[in-house]
Amino acid sequence: MKYQELEKTKEYKYGFTTDIESIKAPKGLNKDIIRFISKIKKEPEWMLDWRLKAYARLKNIKEPNWQKPKYPKINYQDLYYYSAPKSVKNKPKNIDEVDPKLLETYAKLGIPLKEQEKLSGIAVDAIFDSVSVATTFKKKLTEKGIIFCPISEAIQKHSDLVKKYLGSVIPIADHYFATLNSAVFTDGSFVYVPEGVRCPMELSTYFRINASETGQFERTLIIADKGSYVSYLEGCTAPMRDENQLHAANVELIAFDDAEIKYSTVQNWYPGDKNGKGGIYNFVTKRGACRGKNSKISWTQVETGSAITWKYPSCILQGDNSVGEFYSIAITNNHQKADTGTKMIHLGKNTKSKIISKGISAGHADNTYRGLVDISKNASNARNYTQCDSLLMGNRCGAHTVPYIKNKNLSAIVEHEATTSKINEDQLYYCNQRGLDQEEAVSLIVNGFCKEVLQQLPMEFAVEAQKLVDISLEGSVG
């Protein structure tokens, strides 16, 4: 561990790097690299074919550029697509075999994997650069028939499930970053909850980018069979680096009849320094399909990190009476930029969706909510409620709201409410008069503003998220 680096990281406490020997594939994006990844992961033939198909497609499509935050051109040939700590080359069978340095890193991040097994009731899959290093609580989950493992393992052991559902929500040819991910994804989590099973604990994945000049392309697939329930949470951090690092993940959720998936994200990738140097480009595709009737998918995201956040966790409401929810807090400070929101595609009858978005901008940051509510011809009695609130701190930041509504069914009811406000000097004065200092006052007001979304998070993470909100905005009001 480089302790002197830790000293510098007061603003971003996860900014340390771990000195660990790693195996890297050579820089560049080509068929050989894809073959290398597939081989080192011991993938079956079909998986490699799938990746190559995506790669072939990639060459014919262009990066999208309609988003608000612009970024310098990414040289895809100048990135490492695979990086793994040497010590996990031969996969550890249990936590005792994991490199102590890795365990130390996770302990420092607040995830003591070893104690995790015994103490808390959360099963964790930890992803370090391109590989999964440990999955806790496996035994307990196996007893219920729940599969929770690295996707690389699932590709080998649960090949038929992966083959059937991978890419069924986000097709290979979806768009540039999704296609890129399909070609080069390295690891991620796989969850399958069998019919009628209620997952007894929170499932959680922790992503960590460590190596420099590395892109992280993880892939997560969650399948909730009929009448099942699962709550899943992901957290992310990265070291502080001067260069921008790309993170392009794909997350696919599938809920069958009467099943429910709750997916929460606390995203705290390195946001870059005060002048906007460095930071993660977080270009992520997340999509859930409510395939069965009465199914439900709920996205909750707290986005505080990254130089640029560009993502729209979406729901395809296919089954009749299915429900999609999107709760979001996006905080941008200094030079951070976010263009985020959701898409709710209503296909089935009596489908319902709810969108609650809270955007907070401070410093020179720019925050855009972009959303689509699409009601198809057959979605009788579809219902949507959208509420987008923006809070501005200071006078150099920006907030934008771009809601699209397409409605082809007359029986549908669509509501959209939006507010934009500046953090109110009088509110601050009122809090100050009650003995709260400026930071406490800001924290109180902002947390109040975000409350509806914070409430959606699993208890264990709500407190952490609240602290994160405070830290992200520290020093933003003079």
Partner: protein, 244 residues
């Protein structure tokens, strides 16, 4: 307790207070009356440390000049302002707000933070003493409160924070007689040898319930007349015009 000498206050180059002198000793209750625009609310804001004013003259609290002390530190030293228009803060639970507030004041005094149970007890005691419905504590701070509820909430906060100097900025405006009684009760039950009050009001009505030691008439940024509680009654009859 409070000593104001030749206070001059301007905002945007417009002078509002033009040489005001006022001394409040421990245990005293002073009322300030005056027509609209005479500088009453400005005085309240200057005392509590609101930004944006140009100030000259002396402003001392317990022997210490307040001029460079920010609002939160003044509050921690025991200055409380019951707002004329209490602010709404969505999503913030009234109970939590009060607890956070009390704890930051306790912390500044070097006292231990109050635990949840003792706080609950304190709140119960104060609400029942004042006859305020406890339910307002579980609501979002001032959000959707009626005018009366907002003012009652201010007085409840005053009771719980137990300040040395309480400034009431037109707390009585727009209240019905029952709410007015609650406000008066809150003030009267807090009065003792150590606590001081500055009650700013338009009308003599409140002073039927709260008996001031001194009544000052503020007009055009100056105190033009000082007397005992009878002055208020007289003003009610004659109006402010005669004083100029």
């Amino acid at each position: 307790m409070l000593e104001i000498k030749n206070l001059q206050v301007s905002i945007d180059n417009k002078q509002i207070i033009k040489g005001l002198n006022l001394t409040i000793k421990p245990g005293e209750l002073h009322a300030i009356m005056g027509p609209n625009g005479s500088g009453k609310s400005t005085l309240a804001n200057v005392l509590s440390g609101k930004n944006g004013y140009e100030i000259s003259g002396e402003l001392n609290f317990n022997g210490e000049s307040l001029k460079k002390i920010p609002t939160d530190k003044r509050a921690q030293r025991g200055i409380f302002l019951a707002f004329q228009y209490p602010l709404e803060i969505p999503g913030v639970n009234t109970n939590n707000f009060l607890k956070t507030s009390l704890n930051s004041i306790r912390k500044a005094k070097g006292e231990k933070e109050i635990d949840a149970l003792s706080f609950l007890k304190l709140v119960k005691e104060k609400t029942s003493e004042l006859g305020i419905d406890e339910k307002i504590l579980s609501r979002q701070l001032n959000v959707g409160f009626s005018g009366g509820e907002k003012k009652k909430n201010e007085i409840l906060q005053m009771k719980i924070l137990d300040p040395n100097l309480s400034i009431l900025d037109e707390t009585d405006s727009g209240l019905d007689i029952d709410a007015l009684r609650i406000i008066a009760k809150g003030v009267n039950s807090s009065r003792n040898k150590k606590k001081s009050f500055l009650v700013i009001t338009h009308y003599q009505r409140l002073l039927d319930y709260i008996k001031p030691d001194f009544v000052h008439v503020l007009s055009d940024g100056k105190i033009v007349k000082t007397g005992c509680s009878e002055l208020a009654v007289e003003l009610e009859k004659t109006g402010y015009k005669k004083l100029n």
